[in-house]
């Protein structure tokens, strides 16, 4: 699919990102604090969903790497018509290159989630929904691992920052989808700026001098929604 925008330094498409789906992490996604145990019926549902999902989940992702042309605390320019605005400029300070990425847990996961809710099985629906979120997040982490191969000596990656929070308005999804061919991994941008499949993650990851870029912490630390179920 042709994209209108600046020319990327490189593009990679990962048709399958092998991700780990750990029970303990899934329980965190379901709202259990560290160390808390689920009741047997929930634990059984979690084990069953993990078992079924491991064979069917096919997370995938793609990124396009761009040089940063200009940067201020409130802007990040990757091309003549490719300027991100908001706090993202400060978050990615000192990044010389930025990877624009889209990852997804895949349509197979959404089909499982929808089937559970359609069958009226709320517990299974909730568990699979959490698994889908986890799968998309893990795909983004795997993609970041692959991106490490692009680092030069003394460089590091920033955390990933996504539209809708992290100092970027959700409308900036449109720019992300101009800069990376999300269709290559089957992700579509809807008019509302949501992605289809819903269990997908998009965003920016900076590459720059390890002693200058922000390398630690969770983007959630920047978010004012302290009670958010998805807070990491």
């Amino acid at each position: 699919m042709a994209m209108k925008g600046p020319e990327p330094l490189c593009v990679e498409v990962f048709d399958r990102l092998d991700v780990e789906l750990e029970e303990g992490v899934l329980l965190r996604f379901l709202g259990y604090p560290e160390g808390a145990e689920a009741r047997p019926v929930v634990a059984e549902g979690v084990a069953r969903a993990l078992e079924e999902t491991r064979g069917r989940l096919r997370p995938r992702g793609t990124y396009a790497l761009y040089p940063v042309l200009a940067q201020t605390p409130r802007t990040l320019t990757l091309g003549p018509d490719a300027e991100f605005t908001g706090d993202i400029g400060g978050f990615l300070r000192a990044a010389g290159r930025v990877a624009v990425f889209v990852c997804t847990a895949g349509p197979e996961m959404m089909a499982m989630i929808d089937a559970a809710w359609d069958a009226g099985d709320a517990l299974r629906g909730m568990i699979l929904d959490a698994l889908g979120s986890m799968g998309a997040d893990r795909a983004a982490e795997k993609l970041a691992e692959r991106l490490r191969g692009k680092l030069g000596p003394g460089e590091a990656l920033t955390p990933s920052y996504s539209p809708g929070y992290c100092g970027m308005d959700i409308e900036q999804q449109r720019l992300i989808f101009r800069l990376v061919d999300a269709g290559a991994v089957g992700v579509e941008l809807l008019p509302s700026c949501l992605m289809k499949p819903l269990k997908s993650v998009s965003g920016l990851i900076g590459l720059g001098p390890a002693d200058e870029v922000v390398t630690a912490g969770s983007p959630c630390e920047l978010c004012p929604l302290e009670n958010c179920r998805m807070r990491r």
Partner: protein, 211 residues
């Protein structure tokens, strides 16, 4: 009065099959469905809520308790209807136009069903006019609107405006919720109630209806 403790324990443990079996036994022993709600289901769900608030239970435990309760209601609702007893309320619920996130809305719907409400789930990406027609068709007393995105939150105001323009606003209570939604936002858009999480939804709906 039949012993309802087994049914209550099954609700607390999220044991849907056990709860239904205990409810059948109670009915066979002559329990009155209305009393089963008042003396068994409501206190049990109250205890589930207390355990959630104290951090002993988490959302999945709420869900399985609600699922167990819903099964009992499916059993006793026809008998209650014969006696002229009504559901706790009729709710129309949906995720607002432009938003496709349904997990929060689904959880609230499940909790409301477990709380004895009759719930019509309109799904996601629900346009204001669809809310209006559903309220008319179902004679709903409560509308629940969910949004996960700051960009779709304004649709809550549009839905409320549509209800007002259709002349339905005075006859229906509107409750809103979703990760970015706050009490202040709820007031700004003219909602009657705000639920911080799925667990609070039943309490908010009951309060709005003066139950």
């Amino acid at each position: 009065m039949a012993d309802l403790s087994r049914m209550s324990d099954a609700i607390l443990n999220g044991d849907a099959a056990g709860a239904a079996a205990a409810a059948k036994e109670a009915l066979a022993a002559g329990a009155d469905p209305v009393e089963m709600v008042a003396q068994g289901i409501s206190p049990a769900m109250g205890e589930v809520g207390r355990r959630f608030e104290s951090g002993e239970y988490f959302v999945p435990e709420l869900l399985i308790a609600a699922r167990a309760t819903k099964g009992i209601f499916e059993l006793i609702r026809p008998m209650m209807a014969q006696k002229g007893a009504q559901p706790a309320g009729r709710v129309v619920i949906g995720t607002v136009k432009g938003d496709l996130h349904d997990i929060g809305k689904n959880l609230v719907a499940a909790m409301l069903e477990g709380g004895g409400f009759e719930v019509t789930d309109l799904g996601v990406n629900v346009a204001p006019e669809k809310v209006v027609s559903a309220v008319k068709e179902k004679n709903a007393q409560v509308v629940g609107l969910s949004a996960l995105l700051t960009t779709t939150m304004p649709e809550m105001r549009n839905a409320i405006s549509a209800l007002r323009e259709a002349g339905l606003r005075d006859g229906v209570k509107v409750m809103v919720g979703g990760a970015p939604v706050t009490q202040q936002f709820a007031q700004e858009v003219g909602a009657d109630g705000y639920g911080e999480n799925a667990a609070s939804a039943v309490g908010v709906a009951r309060k709005l209806l003066g139950l």
